[in-house]
């Protein structure tokens, strides 16, 4: 096993100083960084996303909403809409099967369309179908909805108030002890005895994390067409197979009659996980007997997906030498009006809340608090950044109070390889200290700084997938080219490239002779989902297994052709080794297949079964680990924060494609700067989103980057994926806020416990500085 660090590629000549870049290199074997597979179509505009597809005879759908969060729907009058030329029909709750079909990955609480009342700003009460987009838009604007605004809850405090209106209809969860409250679920984990733990210092603080949205540049798009005795669906979704199951159940169709096409999404980040408007469009298409398309506006995506906000109270016990005595964490996540996958986000995101540290006693209580806001869902980091912000910031408070260096305090408590830092889970599976030391070194930890500058360092950890099931089929064609069938969605993370590299390497094919087919449930075998940074590990292993099955067939073939005992033949990374000599794969394949040609087919399966007694239903397949270190400069007059240096180091086990690893880490870091520095929903008193759209919801641009950003990764080949890889791409987002917040604190002497750290918020904190 090769231990150690991969070197950061130096800045390319002429490249931005501080934008350390890797350049595509190599033939495309594992460990190379070839140009991304599918890249050609992405730079030429040929890549077809869902909205770029059109079916003959299609109708255009448009949603109708009301400008408040919670309202009783009194009447829906479409008579004016009906007069619009090209209008076809309007779909309301009354037009759907009774009782209203409901769906949801955890709780079947979400109706196909609002029934009786709306529960958040943007909850559709009707949808119009028309011949043209113009007609659909005009008609939707003419649908008159009479509604009566109802009391609603938009904050944790309001939702937890015993007098708060209930968000969820109690009949949806009979026999649930929490049914009379807005708490959907409580998650408790812990070990040791927090009450009995003795500490020299206890630090208790409360932190908040804002509500933010995914803002994928591709707005969600859906097309559903009646297809024989079933339906065909096109959706920019991260898991076609799950969507297939949901639609089959709702429409009472066999799985085989629901064909889901999922062209590569234009950015997902978790927001394209889980069914949203596909059921509505499917019912419309079946009613019309024609294809129906719905392309959301960016504003509508804000009303479809977001990250849960959170209020986190942390009580940390320290010994005087900085050793942790206990962690006591209470996290209230503000989820939306329908559960979506939010409660899993809460449970799984809060679970490693104590971080990668040795903590003798821990108590974590996390609540999923329903509110009359947009349903929150998976979002890169999956509930971890919220608690990380609180817990890592609290560690800094403790270190300062004890007079211990903040890096030193972290190193002192960091779990060592093999250590069961969460007693009932996968032990520490990396040399995490390497990442921490490297990040500190990159930022120049401990060096003297100019006035107004400060340093911050933080670590993040996330539990990888707890269950998984991925199948892959690989076909080695007679000319040595390869087709890989893998149900992962390549939404930018580069899964297509990684699978192609694995197949190319294992089967000795040039990378450009490998085709990876994804995104069609009628053709591609089952994959559970593209989430939790799983695909390189889980689907990667399935692809590898499929290649190995082909290699087995090649061994048998070679043995047959050369009259050898199979046990003496080896196939290894594209080469067939006979006792006396080596052959290329083609030298075996072509004669082996014979005159009729044909192909070799391999199937791979990667299964990680549930563990019913585990608090999360399964232990972590791996941990994503990252350390981020930042130098910030603060303008005390304005509150402006400038990130002068930024270093992010992730433990990835093995970088199958180092350039893609860097792209993921830097992308995650900058995405994290969004919720750290500028992003948040703003509501009015009716729960209407005021900054709905790109003008007033600000995300980072090319001018909002750190002045210098360096990313590196640690490779010890100690992961469960192919060649020792681990999942990555969320890690570098986990502790962005914590590291930046710590640097701002260091620069100003003021701890700010609410995000985002807008200039105004920083300025205000400085005004209040004693």
């Amino acid at each position: 096993m090769s231990a150690g660090m991969s070197a950061a590629a130096g800045a390319a000549p002429g490249a931005a100083p501080g934008t350390a870049t890797g350049t595509a290199t190599g033939s495309g074997r594992v460990g190379d960084s070839p140009r991304r597979v599918g890249g050609h179509d992405r730079v030429t505009g040929l890549q077809r996303y869902v909205a770029d597809l059109h079916l003959p005879d299609e109708l255009h759908a448009r949603l109708v909403t009301v400008p408040v969060a919670r309202a009783r729907i009194v009447t829906i009058d479409a008579s004016a809409a009906e007069r619009v030329p090209g209008f076809r029909f309007v779909m309301t709750a009354a037009d759907l099967p009774q009782p209203m079909p409901r769906f949801g990955p955890q709780f079947r609480d979400r109706p196909v369309i609002a029934v009786g009342e709306t529960k958040y700003h943007g909850d559709p009460v009707a949808a119009v179908a028309a011949d043209t987009r113009d007609a659909a838009e005009e008609a939707a604007g003419l649908v008159r909805v009479d509604y009566e605004e109802l009391p609603a809850a938009f904050t944790v405090a309001a939702a937890l108030d015993p007098a708060a209106p209930l968000v969820q209809d109690p009949s949806l969860r009979p026999n649930d002890p929490l049914v009379g409250t807005n708490v959907l679920r409580e998650h408790r984990v812990g070990w040791g005895d927090v009450e009995a733990a003795v500490a020299d210092l206890v630090v208790e603080q409360r932190y908040t994390f804002p509500m933010v949205t995914h803002f994928a540049i591709e707005p969600h798009a859906y097309i559903v067409a009646p297809d024989g005795d079933g339906i065909a669906v096109w959706s920019s979704i991260q898991h076609p197979n799950w969507l297939q199951k949901v639609l089959a159940e709702l429409l009472r169709l066999p799985l085989s009659k629901v064909r889901v096409h999922s062209p590569d999404p234009g950015g997902g980040f978790g927001g394209k996980q889980h069914t949203k408007y596909e059921p509505l469009v499917a019912f419309m298409a079946l009613r019309a007997g024609r294809p129906v398309r719905l392309v959301l506006t960016l504003e509508e995506t804000f009303q479809a997906v977001r990250r849960a906000a959170a209020e986190v109270r942390v009580r940390t016990g320290f010994q005087s030498d900085g050793t942790l005595a206990f962690q006591d964490i209470e996290a209230n996540y503000l989820i939306g009006a329908y559960a979506d996958i939010a409660d899993r986000v809460v449970g799984k995101g809060s679970y490693p809340g104590c971080g990668p540290y040795r903590v003798p006693a821990a108590r974590i209580l996390a609540r999923s608090v329903l509110s009359h806001t947009v349903p929150s869902t998976a979002f890169r980091g999956f509930g971890n950044p919220q608690v990380n912000w609180a817990v890592e910031s609290n560690l800094d408070e403790g270190a300062r109070a004890l007079g211990i260096d903040r890096l030193e305090l972290r190193l002192r408590n960091l779990a060592r390889p093999g250590e069961a830092f969460i007693p009932f889970d996968t032990p520490c599976d990396g040399q995490w200290e390497q990442s921490v030391r490297r990040a500190a070194e990159l930022i120049g930890w401990g060096r003297p700084l100019p006035a107004g500058h400060g340093l911050g360092i933080a670590v993040g950890i996330k539990s990888g997938p707890t269950t998984g099931l991925s199948y892959a089929t690989v076909r080695l064609l007679v000319d040595g080219s390869v087709i890989v069938f893998a149900g992962t969605s390549d939404m930018g993370q580069g899964a297509r490239t990684v699978f192609a590299q694995i197949a190319a390497d294992e089967l000795g094919a040039p990378l450009d002779a490998v085709t990876v087919v994804m995104g069609d449930t009628a053709i591609v075998p089952y994959d559970q989902q593209t989430s939790a940074s799983r695909s390189t590990v889980l689907m990667g292993n399935a692809v590898l297994a499929a290649c190995r099955e082909i290699q087995g067939k090649l061994r048998a073939m070679a043995a047959r052709l050369h009259g050898l005992d199979e046990a003496t033949v080896m196939v290894d990374r594209g080469v067939v080794r006979l006792p006396e000599r080596e052959l290329t794969i083609l030298e075996v394949l072509v004669p082996g297949l014979g005159r009729l040609g044909g192909e070799l087919i391999g199937n791979g399966e990667m299964r990680k079964d549930a563990e019913p007694d585990h608090p999360l239903g399964g232990s972590a397949a791996f941990f994503e680990f990252n350390c981020t270190a930042v130098e910030a400069a603060v303008d005390e007059e304005t509150g402006d924060v400038t990130l002068v240096h930024y270093a992010t180091v992730s433990d990835v086990g093995k970088a199958i494609n180092p350039l893609q690893v860097r792209m993921q880490d830097e992308g995650a870091a900058i995405q994290g700067l969004g919720h750290t520095l500028m992003e948040h929903y703003i509501f009015d008193e009716s729960g209407r989103i005021r900054n709905l759209g790109a003008i007033d919801y600000r995300i980072p641009t090319s001018l909002d980057l750190p002045l210098e950003i360096v990313s590196e990764h640690v490779e010890n080949e100690d992961g469960p994926g192919p060649y020792g890889s681990k999942g990555m791409s969320e890690g570098a987002l986990l502790c962005v806020a914590s590291a930046v917040g710590a640097a701002v604190r260091d620069a100003t002497g003021v701890a700010i416990r609410d995000l985002p750290l807008t200039p105004e918020r920083v300025w205000r904190a400085l005004q209040e500085r004693p």
């Binding site: 005009e138 304005t638 005021r690 003008i695 600000r698 001018l703 105004e760 205000r764």
Partner: protein, 290 residues
């Protein structure tokens, strides 16, 4: 977007006639960077859109005439920011034009559109106030000119009458050098609508002109003719007091989500102090060059 009819007059007279005939039902289209957004969101629904970009008399361009720099109303920000005369003589205006939106926006956004849209946050407004711009208007009864100080009424409203449109913005060429600067506050470094805009101009006689926007219904101009503000040797208290009086007309709205009133007011003071310093330094540099 609602349907409307599109007119592309070839002459100013025809444009004025169309605007007069349709009154509030007609909307002028210049670069469209404000208008098209409002057509799409439905907050404006004209039946006629009158495109100014094919009118012979309204060719974009910047020229000198009679001691004035005449900027055609349809001149886009890209060209204003790049114009050597503007950069030398009206630096703040060049700076303001250079921060309007992105390259794509600046390639379309016109100076006429910026002042006719009359957003309190319009970036060019403070610079035009400081540099004493005059708005040239064509209308049914011919042409008229009004100082920019009398142009803005409140958000979205100007003194433009029925059938009128702006044909040019004129800037008197200063006899003596002036140092000027445009500063703004935004929520991120990337392009953004400003939560405070400020322009400061200091001339050789020591007169300081401060104009600021986004802190009230219309941009405000305040002038210090005493020379105290620009005088680095003046008593700090005197300068502070003067500055306070000059900024007194700022009345930011509590309804905006871009920044709170107290932050805006505090930032206005920061920008004003910085603006005076930069403008004074620029004046000194300009005088040094002479």
């Amino acid at each position: 977007m609602h349907a409307f009819s599109y007119e592309r007059p070839a002459t100013l007279a025809r444009a004025v006639a169309l605007l007069e005939a349709h009154g509030p039902e007609a909307r002028v289209l210049a670069g469209g960077t404000d208008l098209i957004i409002r057509l799409r969101d439905g907050s404006l629904a004209p039946t006629v859109v009158v495109d100014l970009k094919r009118i012979a008399e309204l060719e974009p361009g910047i020229r000198e005439a009679d001691g004035r720099l005449v900027i055609g109303a349809t001149t886009v920000m890209t060209d204003i920011a790049a114009d050597a005369r503007i950069r030398r003589r009206f630096e703040a205006l060049a700076e303001a034009a250079a921060v309007v939106g992105s390259v794509q926006i600046r390639n379309r956004a016109t100076l006429g559109g910026n002042i006719c849209n009359a957003s309190p946050a319009a970036d060019t407004a403070p610079a035009l106030l400081v540099h004493g711009a005059v708005v040239v208007i064509a209308g049914p009864s011919g042409s008229r000119r009004i100082p920019i100080d009398g142009w803005f009424v409140r958000s979205g409203v100007t003194t433009l009458g029925r059938g009128e449109l702006v044909t040019a913005i004129e800037l008197p060429l200063p006899a003596a050098p002036m140092g000027s600067v445009h500063l703004r506050r935004t929520r991120r470094r990337g392009h953004d609508l400003a939560s405070v805009t400020l322009c400061c101009g200091v001339d050789a006689s020591g007169v300081t002109r401060l104009a600021y926007g986004s802190v009230g219904p219309r941009p405000v101009l305040a002038v210090d003719a005493t020379g105290v503000l620009a005088d680095r040797d003046a008593a700090p208290d005197a300068r502070t007091g003067l500055l306070e009086r000059m900024l007194a007309e700022a009345t930011p709205s509590a309804r905006s989500m871009r920044a709170s009133p107290d932050y805006r007011l505090a930032m206005l003071r920061v920008l004003a102090r910085r603006g005076v310093d930069i403008a004074t330094a620029r004046l000194a540099a300009a005088e040094g060059r002479r």
